[in-house]
């Protein structure tokens, strides 16, 4: 059974979103996504200062067997990315909601936060997907 923490928001492209106390946003891929992909070996992330549009392809995560595009679930400016993943992409498998986070955003005015799924909705979505 995949972990789907209640305190996070989710997308149908299997990203998770955490709204931090200071209003910034942290983004990663879900436990379900890392399990489907298998052993991750390469990650390409957006750069600090990059302006991301909603649903834009902003990077890639690659496992031994496949490459998956990474979408920005929200619009905003990149304020940080997880540089550790360059040499340790396995963090995405081992700790997808913790040390395997991908990048942080400062939200744009119209960030489309309301489009995200709650934990229950995401759980239903992946159950249907199977």
């Amino acid at each position: 059974m995949n972990k789907i923490p209640d305190n996070l928001k989710y997308t149908e492209s299997h990203e998770w979103v955490r709204i931090e106390e200071n209003g910034t946003i942290t983004i990663g891929i879900t436990d379900h996504a890392q399990e489907e992909l298998g052993d991750l070996v390469y990650v390409e992330l957006p750069k600090i200062g990059q302006q991301l549009n909603l649903d834009e392809v902003v990077g890639v995560v690659e496992s031994v067997k496949a490459a998956e595009d990474l979408y920005s679930p929200l619009a905003g400016e990149v304020i940080d990315f997880n540089a550790e993943l360059e040499d340790a992409p396995e963090l995405l498998n081992n700790d997808p909601y913790g040390s395997g986070w991908l990048f942080k955003l400062k939200l744009a005015e119209n960030s489309h936060l309301e489009n995200l799924l709650g934990a229950d909705e995401y759980a239903k979505f992946i159950a249907k997907d199977k």
């Binding site: 052993d39 070996v41 390469y42 390409e44 890639v60 690659e62 031994v64």
Partner: protein
Amino acid sequence: MGKRTPLYNKHLVQKAKMVDFGGWDMPLHYGSQMNEHHQVRRDAGVFDVSHMTIIDLTGQRVREFLRYLLANDVERLKKTGKALYSCMLNDQGGVLDDLIVYFQDEHQFRMVVNAATRDKDIAWITKQAKPFAVQVRERDDFAMLAVQGSQVRKKLEPLLPANLSASVMALAPFYATWHDDEFFIARTGYTGEEGFEIILPAQDAPNWWDALLAAGIAPIGLGARDTLRLEAGMNLYGADMDENYSPLESGLAWTVAFKPADRVFIGRSALETQRNRGNHSILVGLVLPVKGILRGHQTVSFEGGGVGQITSGTFSPTLGGSIAFARLPAGEYKQVTVTIRNKPLLAKVVTPPFVRHGKTCISFLTDN
């Protein structure tokens, strides 16, 4: 629902992630493709390869038939049990399939062909066999296991049937031994490691599987099978070659026996024309000295214009970087450019294998 091997339920017990492969429900991995890859290089693993097609060919003229059917020459098989890797070609010299054929006796040869090409192969072989009065019998009553890995000999030995144990341990590479239809074992494989392939009655397979696992030979999925074979520099049918390309264009010229010159085989005249004309495409190995993953279908470009394509690419768990096969126009290459998501990256051209018997055979560093 796809076809199931006799070990389907065993895969579920091992919590395999099952995928469709050529119409079969097969295990992709049992948790971690990467760990399974290392398990074979460093220790020992077992693959269920029962989806592969086993064909017994029998008749007075079976050797003569195979000398006509295959691009490699079974005349090379003099000793009982000797195996030969070959392509089977169409009249245009395109590769219908790649296979292994075993010489059992003058009236019986056993052949193992790919799963995804089964129907096409059986139809072709049956048609070609008619004039030679050779019987073609698919052995779907068998299962097939590949046990591979640096430590496999000592783990397998105690499990072998008493009447075959000594002869199995004495097998030279690319030889097989057997006892009737009960047990057929060959020192062959698709990983670049020491290992054996075992053909046995389907109903015996589950008990064998349990015994192998109990002996510390871990289950390995098709995912690791692919990274192991690519590291070992072995082609995958349907990716690195198919009916549109000849063995000469697929890095398999070494499997074509042009001598003796008077042996007629299917595709020979097309291959000779191609060889004499030269200027045909070639298959090369690539390594990527920077981060990124080479994948099939990525475009390859090089100085002087022209393009090629990656046929198989992956992350190499043993080397910790990306490796690939690419088909390029005739020429000599030191490095090429692979464009990954609009980013041009330099890749070094190398001669496979990349890894054999756990040892690295190539360098990721560029030579200047």
